[in-house]
């Protein structure tokens, strides 16, 4: 299964949900905003959001500064 994460294609051997992807690709998942195929997915529903082949995921981890 291929999923594009922040513009880079990644291969997954088994089914995966958004929470697992965020844990894998973000150092700290506490302040992450996530989009799947153009729609923002709130953190409360990450575990239920199963990803499919061809999905596009954008992840931004907020950091301090302003």
């Amino acid at each position: 299964m291929k999923i594009t994460i922040n513009g880079q294609e990644k291969e997954f051997t088994s089914s995966v949900n958004l929470k697992k992807v965020i844990e894998q690709f973000c150092k700290d998942s506490q302040h992450v905003i996530a989009e799947v195929n153009g729609t923002i997915i709130k953190s409360q529903v990450w575990p239920e959001k199963n990803l499919s082949n061809g999905d596009t995921v954008e992840l931004v981890n907020f950091v301090g500064g302003g």
Partner: protein
């Protein structure tokens, strides 16, 4: 049309100015990002703002924020309102000298098609964006603009209806100082997104 606007119409046509002046901008926090975005957007012709910030001006703010040494101790939102009125005497600025929280979020930014996330701590940035992302048309956020050494380029990312400017990794709480060049550059890029969206200019 006042003197400021007479000057501005040398660069914008009447329809563009009318469009810009019809839009209200909400700003969460009036620090390095918020004060600079507000000044730049006022200079660009926007004249309706709503700004929420709990702070008074501290000496450590003067390195990057739109405040002066003789304003130390003054309320930021009141001082920023004065600054915007110095640019355009007809600007309308609604200010709230309070701490923004998700519990009180519903009290602010009604009829704002643009909301600026300008907080300095990651948890507030996240909470603010998450709270308003389905309550407004566009959110413009700053994320990662504090660094002196081994700087990373800042870029623009889009997540849903949220445009996020910065290097997305440099955290000011991890020993990276927020200095005027990069904070101001980030604020200017955020303001440019607002101007482009307001005028229907395609964002790359």
């Amino acid at each position: 049309m006042n003197a400021f606007e007479e000057g501005l119409v040398r660069y914008l046509n009447g329809d563009q100015l009318k469009k810009i002046q019809s839009l209200k901008i909400g700003i969460g926090d009036a620090g390095g990002l918020g004060s600079n975005v507000a000044v730049i957007l006022t200079r660009s012709g926007f004249k309706h703002f709503e700004i929420v910030d709990q702070d008074v001006i501290d000496a450590s703010n003067l390195n990057r924020q739109q405040y002066f040494a003789d304003e130390i101790g003054a309320v930021k939102v009141e001082t920023l309102k004065k600054r915007l009125l110095q640019i355009n005497p007809e600007v309308e600025v609604l200010v709230h000298h309070v701490k923004w929280t998700p519990e009180t979020g519903t009290a602010y930014f009604h009829s704002c098609p643009f909301i600026i996330e300008a907080f300095d701590q990651a948890q507030w940035k996240f909470q603010f964006v998450q709270y308003y992302q389905n309550k407004t048309k566009w959110i413009i956020s700053g994320n990662g603009m504090a660094r002196l050494l081994e700087k990373k380029p800042m870029n623009l990312r889009k997540v849903g209806n949220v445009y996020i400017v910065g290097d997305h990794s440099t955290d000011s709480t991890q020993g990276h100082p927020p200095m005027a060049p990069r904070v101001t550059a980030c604020a200017a890029m955020m303001a440019e997104v607002v101007l482009d969206l307001a005028l229907g200019i395609k964002i790359n």
